[in-house]
């Protein structure tokens, strides 16, 4: 282990401002949702939420610029680099567990509770509450069709989702190629492969939006369409948010590559984003398999 002096930053205003911004976002989101559900005035919630988001955006830009600046001034040691690596790895692990909760919910309803509700299995007595309900997956007919009208169809996995799978898989390849070129210090090619990755990610998001439009407009597959719609949208929706975030991160990295921030042996910011991108990709494979195909 090498032991240069470990860099301990001086006082910082970023965290407390970030806490305030987070509070504004959370309070704004809460007020907005309550107002929407109560059909009352949404102005306060909306303005707090947008204000909080803007503040958070500014703070994150400032905070990260500050860290980048420190890194470029050579304040960080090898040991610091390891701290960042551990930090990013465990952050991704926490994200995996976040998705695990929703996958767990999906597996539970598919394999246990929906069959029980349909009268099958050991807890099939639940069917007595909704007599005549038949279990199926995808669940097209919900127990109470008036409250939760089931969908008339589901997304065909072999069209847009298959294309999206290919898009994300190839984006994982392109981002790795960019990384290889970075290690060889061939910056123009890094820019090229990174830009291609961003394009692939963006096209994915566009396709996903088109898929949602189709689900809502022609298939009646909505958030309110019972448990199939609920699990479908929460899994694909949070994944979509992560792809969007990942694409934004890639854009920042592209900008930094163009500005010449990274060297072949010092580019953890780049690597962290590729880790994140691969994670998003792997989650998609799980989604494609368990949400769309099976």
């Amino acid at each position: 282990m090498s032991h240069q002096t470990y860099y301990v930053p001086a006082q910082s205003r970023w965290p407390i401002f970030a806490s305030i911004a987070l509070f504004l976002m959370a309070y704004g989101a809460g007020a907005l949702m309550n107002a929407l559900s109560a059909k009352s005035d949404t102005a306060l919630g909306l303005s707090l939420l947008i204000g909080g988001l803007l503040c958070m955006g500014l703070i994150m830009t400032g905070w990260f610029s500050h860290v980048i600046d420190e890194s470029r001034r050579g304040l960080y040691s090898v040991q610091m680099d390891r701290s960042f690596r551990w930090g990013m790895s465990w952050f991704i692990f926490s994200e995996i567990m976040f998705f695990a909760a929703f996958f767990g919910a999906l597996f539970y309803v598919r394999n246990l509770s929906v069959p029980w509700l349909g009268g099958e299995g050991e807890k099939g007595v639940a069917n007595m509450l909704w007599q005549g309900f038949e279990a199926s997956w995808p669940l097209m007919k919900t127990p109470d069709m008036a409250a939760y009208p089931g969908p008339s169809g589901v997304i065909d996995p072999l069209h847009l989702p298959l294309i999206n799978t290919l898009l994300l898989l190839s984006s994982s390849v392109t981002v790795t190629l960019a990384h290889y070129r970075l290690k060889q210090n061939r910056r123009p090619q890094v820019v090229l492969w990174l830009a291609l990755t961003i394009v692939l990610g963006s096209v994915f998001i566009v396709f996903q939006t088109m898929e949602y439009a189709e689900a809502y407009q022609t298939l009646g597959l909505t958030l309110q369409a019972g448990i199939y719609g609920a699990t479908f949208f929460i899994l694909t929706g949070f994944h979509g948010v992560h792809v969007t975030l990942g694409t934004l991160m890639l854009m920042v990295i592209l900008l930094r590559v163009i500005r010449g921030h990274f060297s072949p042996d010092n580019h953890f910011g780049f690597e962290a984003v590729t880790w994140y991108w691969h994670f998003v990709d792997v989650v998609w494979l799980g989604l494609f398999l368990f949400v769309y195909l099976m």
Binding site: S12, I16, A26, G62
Partner: protein, 537 residues
């Protein structure tokens, strides 16, 4: 905004800033540790006042002081505040103060993020407490917020409760990432994992649990949010969902969560008992493995909270046996503590008294847990005061006593002054008596069938309830002694030596009392406290 932070190359060049900004902008692990501990103490009293409101109402049968709706808000807020506001931040505060000085690091691995982890909390709890003042009242569905009580039948303020939980989750995850990065990356050269003090080990494992399950909590409250505001049917059978799904996801978080609140306590007690027994810890390696086993088992026992809810027989059996299995590593730990004391030269300063009470009373809580793990018996105990007695025995004379023990044990190191030993002992005995008078009768109440979370009860429960209320007020009021003692200790007192305790061992006792603002600017030379010959056997 950017120019406010002067970049200082070496860690040693800046001391504490003056005034309020020191605390708002700090990146120092000791300052942040202090903030966490003070926040926790504040929340301990806020949650404590709620507990006393509950006990006052239950002093006699009938409705005297508060309305049932408000009673429900009190039980809910009391639980949430004690779990997320008092116990967890106290242990994070201890981690912040102690881990760097125990492993010979200059600070935590990611100091700015450390500040953020803390400062999210006051905002999160401000939001959570503000729900009590909102139209329709605060959360009233119990700290476990089971759907559909927390979805279909919840007051509108539940939305803010959900976002407060999200904020606490962010804070906990970042705090835990920091702890892991610090432990794995910042140890002084020569300190291997199996050389680390047990407090550091238990926190490493706790941090892993936090990162693994806080996102699951975020997931379950997100599903609640979707059900409440966006028309999904995760927890509504009318749409094909299942309210029991809520309980599964919640307890997948919830069971590791209870170990998050006890593993660091194990670590604290494993530091204190060897010091005052003047022996090295018996079975260090088995302690580490036992802690890891408890943590891993915690992922496969969650449904023992749900025996009465309706599960296939195979599920009941599986969760019953895995739960019982936890008694094995826990028994190893209890055995090791007792074996450490066996033939030791024991003295009974306040930290040791709290640690001893921990061992005895936590074991009582463990045994009632074993009773509850028996599925057929649990059908009887479920949702009675027996459960309340059980988890209060593991959390109050368990977690809280270990936090008290830690505070007394390390206060001289933190402040440079000794606390008042007589007052400390008085605090201990009043707390010890108060805790047992409060919670022991609840076992009898529960076995006799008194349900939990009710503001009124049948007449035959009156006597024990009266006793419990008297005990609660004794316990609550005696905590003021603790505050007084801490304040006195910060302001003045006999100067503490570097070692503080005759039998102390570990790197934190090589620093001055109080330690310098930046703990170890140069990594210290590490020699194993248990292997260096002049201490222990």
């Amino acid at each position: 905004m950017g120019n406010v932070e002067q970049v200082v190359h070496s860690a040693g060049h800046h001391g504490p800033a003056k005034g309020l900004t020191r605390w708002l902008f700090t990146t120092n692990h000791k300052d942040i540790g202090t903030l966490y501990l003070l926040f926790s103490l504040t929340m301990f009293f806020v949650g404590g006042c709620m507990a006393l409101t509950i006990r006052a109402e239950l002093f006699q049968p009938g409705l005297q002081l508060i309305r049932p709706e408000f009673f429900n808000q009190m039980t809910t807020s009391h639980g949430l505040i004690m779990v997320f506001g008092a116990v967890m931040p106290a242990f994070v505060g201890l981690a912040n103060w102690l881990i760097p000085i125990m492993i010979g690091a200059p600070d935590m691995a990611l100091p700015r993020m450390n500040n953020w982890s803390f400062w999210i909390l006051p905002f999160a709890f401000a939001m959570m407490l503000s729900t009590l003042l909102m139209e329709g009242g605060g959360p009233n569905f119990g700290w476990t917020f089971y759907a559909p009580l927390s979805t279909t039948y919840a007051p509108p303020s539940v939305t803010f409760f959900i976002f407060a939980v999200h904020m606490m989750g962010i804070s906990s995850i970042m705090g835990a990432i920091n702890v892991i990065a610090t432990i794995l990356n910042m140890r002084t050269p020569g300190m291997k994992l199996m050389d680390m003090p047990l407090f550091v080990w238990t926190w490493l494992i706790t941090a892993f649990l936090l990162i693994a399950v806080m996102p699951v909590l975020a997931g379950v409250v997100t599903m609640m949010l979707m059900d409440i505001h966006f028309g999904t049917s995760f927890f509504d059978a009318a749409g094909g969902g299942d309210p029991v799904l809520f309980q599964h996801v919640f307890w997948f978080f919830g069971h590791p969560e209870v170990y998050i609140m006890i593993l660091p306590a194990f670590g604290v007690v494993s530091e204190i008992i060897p010091t005052f027994a003047r022996k090295r810890l018996f079975g260090y390696t088995s302690m580490v493995y036992a802690t890891a086993s408890i943590a891993l088992l915690s992922f496969i026992v969650w449904a023992h909270h749900m025996f009465a809810v309706g599960m296939p027989l195979a599920g009941e059996l599986f969760f019953m046996y895995t739960t019982m299995l936890i008694a094995v590593p826990t028994g190893v730990k209890i055995f090791n503590w007792v074996a450490t004391m066996f033939r030791g030269s024991m003295t009974f300063e306040t930290p040791m008294l709290f640690a001893l009470a921990f061992v005895v009373l936590f074991t009582i809580g463990g045994f009632s847990g074993l009773m509850l793990s028996i599925a057929p018996a649990d059908f009887q105990y479920h949702d009675t005061y027996f459960v309340v007695a059980h988890f209060h025995y593991v959390l109050v004379p368990g977690s809280v006593f270990s936090i008290m023990a830690a505070a007394y044990y390390w206060l001289p190191k933190w402040t440079g002054n000794m606390y008042n030993e007589t007052m400390g002992k008085l605090h201990f005995w009043l707390s010890f008596i108060g805790v047992n008078v409060t919670f022991f009768p609840m076992h009898f109440l529960g076995l006799a069938g008194m349900p939990r979370r009710i503001p009124d009860y049948a007449l035959q429960f009156a006597d024990f309830n009266m006793v419990a209320t008297l005990g609660a007020f004794l316990f609550g009021l005696s905590q003021l002694l603790f505050v007084y003692n801490v304040v006195c200790c910060i302001r003045s007192g006999k100067k503490a030596s570097n070692e503080v305790w005759e039998g102390s061992h570990g790197l934190e006792w090589t620093l001055s009392s109080p330690p310098p603002y930046h703990s170890f600017i140069e990594p210290p030379i590490f020699s194993h406290p248990y292997k260096d010959g002049h201490r222990g056997e």
